[in-house]
Symmetry: C2
């Protein structure tokens, strides 16, 4: 029998997404043989405790324990457009959009993918409705779901949810990311849906 | 930018064997969202500090901090055959052999795979030679390398190393695992090398 700390380490690593039992055991041995990685892991596990959600957009931010303000730099930035709100599923999507530098408005992080496998109560649907109701500056909500069958369904459902929240929300324009040719993509390899979208959105 | 504790967690996880940058980030978010897994990880990282090598066979054992004895249960077991020593590359190989219950002798863990990519000084070659020289009970050393091209080369090289260690070692029989049909394997799907080995080792 392998020593219990090795087996226990492997059992924990096995819980991480996409890691099988054999790889978990290899990782446990790697951690056992590397005191430096154990030290780094311990330090970062403590640091991660101070990661909280921004109280406005819910993205993850690093808060010092006695911070008075719990909002993120984007929500605090008075230069950014208050009229448009971009709804993303996860923090990584927000990162990608910010990296592209093409959006200068506000964000809202749903906290997961809206799908048949996901309990919608785990997502911030009510918080999003509240935001749409209370934020008087809002003129447009851009739903930045992926243009997959699942993302399309999520868009339509969320749009309905927001519109039905109150009469106030009816004047907010609810849009989604445009479908078109990916930059650098070749027509020869584009699928039919993408080509159809690109033709509709021609300019 | 993602909060630094998330990025740092992903950077550490990326160092584990077989984990790419995207999966590392997914794991970091998983750890962020699961306080229980952080707690479990911290506990096990402390426990893993008490995993040491058996002073005789070098397999990993769980030692309490004030343990007087640093040998493993197999090395201490007076019932086991003192005449035969099975050399394995890694602890997991020893586990498999013990699970099979087919070997009742002693073990020696090299601590890695002897290959062209591996510095042999990182392995316990000298410790193995010392054991062969000093252990007067030894009659046979079984090299349990995998029967791959690499394992075959490692076997021949190690055998030579031990035999050249001293005249004392010349009377030790150095063998390796037999090549044959895997139990339950079908002849139709067996490769030529396996079939050749199975014919040679017919009984």
């Amino acid at each position: 029998m392998l020593p219990s700390p090795i087996r226990e380490t492997a059992d924990i690593i096995k819980k991480l997404p996409g890691i099988g039992p054999r790889q978990a055991l290899r990782c446990a041995f790697y951690i056992l043989r590397n005191p430096a990685i154990r030290q780094d892991l311990k330090l970062v596990l403590d640091k991660i405790e101070s990661v909280k959600n921004c109280s406005i957009c819910f993205r993850y931010i690093h808060l010092s324990p006695n911070a008075a303000d719990s909002t993120c730099s984007i929500c605090r930035d008075i230069e950014r457009d208050k009229n448009s709100l971009c709804v993303v599923e996860e923090d990584v999507d927000l990162e990608q959009l910010e990296k592209a530098g093409a959006f200068g408005g506000q964000y809202f992080v749903l906290g997961g993918r809206l799908s048949l496998n996901q309990d919608p109560r785990a997502l911030r649907i009510n918080e999003l409705k509240q935001r749409a109701l209370k934020d008087k500056d809002l003129k447009e909500i851009i739903m930045a779901m992926s243009p997959t069958a699942e993302g399309n369904a999520a868009f339509l459902w969320l749009k309905q949810e927001i519109l039905s929240a109150s009469d106030n929300t009816a004047q907010i324009k609810i849009t989604r990311l445009g479908i078109g040719m990916p930059s650098g993509g070749e027509i020869e390899y584009a699928d039919e849906e993408t080509l159809r979208g690109a033709l509709e959105n021609r300019n």
